[in-house]
């Protein structure tokens, strides 16, 4: 499903975030990427989601070589991948409903279909009652779940989450991880980064550890 072959990523200014990373994530697999901050976790996820391009090696997602895709094809690929951002990237000028509806509107879905899917996604994350709420009225955990609802509303086969439990207390973090596990159980490929070691233990999923931009031996 996601295949990294000797992937390197060097940012402008010389920062080398990843070097020689080769890893394969199979369809329906759940993988946790661990490592200290600055180890390259976020970069790895962004490359897998087609949000950035590698500067070396190849990234193949859904059988497509991300580096060889044009801008439009890359955007189309992003529609097939749900991404939960570390900083949520919610739009604060519109309701929870409209935030979740954004990917569907981008895809040009019909209004009634949008309503159905958005409510299903909000229901899945337990926010159906808050569809009219503005993001600013939501707690940190609720904002996180809203971001997850937006990521799954397009029914992607790949779900990627960057530090989804980052700023949450233990109970809330546990609930979020269980949510991802439920997606994994229905066949979604899940790739998430975290430094919540205890949570990973509980999930019992495969782990990829990064150290200074390389896979730890």
């Amino acid at each position: 499903m996601i295949q990294f072959s000797s992937v390197a990523k060097r940012y402008e200014g010389g920062l080398e975030a990843l070097r020689g990373v080769s890893v394969e994530i199979g369809a329906g697999e759940m993988v946790a990427v661990t490592g200290h901050s600055g180890a390259g976790k976020s970069t790895l996820l962004k490359l897998a989601a087609g949000l950035e391009r590698a500067t070396g090696g190849t990234v193949v997602v859904h059988g497509q070589n991300v580096g060889a895709l044009g801008e439009t094809a890359l955007a189309m690929l992003r529609r097939r991948i749900g991404f939960v951002f570390q900083d949520h990237k919610l739009l604060f000028d519109r309701s929870a409903f409209d935030n979740v509806a954004l990917p569907l509107r981008v895809s040009g879905l019909a209004g009634d279909e949008i309503g159905r899917r958005v409510r299903a996604a909000l229901d899945k994350v337990g926010l159906l009652a808050r569809e009219r709420a503005m993001p600013v009225a939501l707690s940190g955990g609720e904002q996180q779940r809203l971001c997850i609802a937006r990521a799954i509303v397009n029914r992607p086969s790949i779900l990627i989450a960057d530090e989804p439990t980052g700023n949450l207390d233990a109970d809330y973090a546990k609930a979020i991880l269980e949510l991802f596990q439920s997606f994994h159980r229905v066949g979604v490929t899940v790739l998430l980064s975290t430094h919540d070691e205890a949570g990973i233990e509980r999930l019992g999923c495969r782990r990829v550890a990064l150290v200074s931009g390389a896979i730890a031996p």
């Binding site: 949000l51 391009r53 955007a75 992003r78 990237k89 919610l90 954004l102 981008v106 040009g108």
Partner: protein
């Protein structure tokens, strides 16, 4: 039908944006309308002047007045000389007596003329000429004025030719003004759209992150520019029509003073539609320019 829906959404989005800031939208449309109405009014003025010129323009002719002491022999000799000129189409002789009768008939000067000792008018020829070429006409006039016993050669074509030249110059001026103001319209729309784009930078960024292509991002802004341009074009036409009607009524007050009929001639319906279409296209171009610039600045989604 996804394609159609995307465009319908983009149009709805653009109209919503216009309606969400009614005052700001009205002002920007007004600014654009003023810019567009200037060349429209200039075109109306030129067109009106053009019709006046056309109504006045008769076939070019030259009047040749003879000296008072010209004899019948002189008349015959000059008539031959005039007829032999290749530019002359017809040569009409008006005798002194005939001219006096005509003058008495068409003016109220009969009494004054009767009180004179003799006929003050000379024999004259009216020569209709083939060409409207000023240089050739001047050549003919110079040649004819050198004939013995020819007192004066008056060319009536000069002022109408001069008017035509002014109108041609007006056309060039109009094209220049239209071009400059078109660029102004495109830049104004571009600037307004750019402000919109900047204020929606977050939405654009997130849209791109969840899979919006460059054209997805561009589309609503293009419709915004298009509608803004079209509305401004329509307002400009309406405003120009009102101004032209007012000027027309002022002109009518002047008309009895002159023989010619002066009136404002407004643009034809196709021309009006063309103005609206061009304004819409300029809005579209401005929006394209603005979004393109801002899109590049966002670059590849981070």
């Amino acid at each position: 039908m996804t394609w159609l829906r995307l465009h319908r959404h983009a149009l709805a989005d653009a109209l919503r944006r216009l309606a969400s800031q009614p005052l700001a939208s009205a002002f920007s449309i007004l600014v654009l309308a003023v810019a567009i109405s200037l060349p429209v009014l200039a075109a109306v003025a030129l067109q009106s002047a053009g019709t006046v010129a056309a109504s006045l323009e008769t076939e070019p002719h030259v009047n040749v007045f003879l000296a008072l002491d010209a004899t019948d022999d002189d008349v015959r000799r000059i008539a031959e000389a005039l007829r032999s000129n290749p530019e002359a189409v017809s040569v009409k002789f008006i005798s002194r007596a005939q001219a006096l009768e005509e003058l008495k008939a068409t003016t109220h000067l009969a009494e004054i003329l009767d009180s004179l000792d003799g006929n003050p008018l000379p024999h004259a020829f009216t020569v209709r000429v083939r060409t409207t070429d000023i240089a050739k006409l001047n050549e003919a006039r110079d040649a004819w004025s050198k004939l013995p016993k020819v007192d004066q050669v008056a060319a009536d074509f000069e002022w109408s030719e001069r008017l035509a030249q002014w109108i041609r110059f007006g056309d060039t001026l109009l094209a220049t003004i239209a071009l400059v103001l078109s660029a102004a319209v495109a830049f104004i729309v571009g600037h307004l759209i750019r402000l919109q784009v900047v204020s929606q930078r977050e939405e654009i960024e997130v849209s791109q992150l969840v899979g919006a292509t460059a054209s997805d991002v561009r589309r609503p802004f293009l419709y915004h520019g298009l509608t803004q341009g079209a509305l401004a074009g329509a307002v400009a036409i309406g405003g120009a029509a009102a101004v032209a009607a007012w000027l027309g009524s002022q002109l009518r007050a002047l008309t009895p003073t002159y023989a010619a009929e002066w009136k404002m001639v407004f643009l034809s319906l196709p021309a009006c539609l063309a103005v609206v279409a061009i304004a819409a296209a300029l809005g579209l171009a401005g929006a394209w320019w603005a979004v393109g610039r801002e899109l590049r600045r966002f670059g590849q989604a981070p």
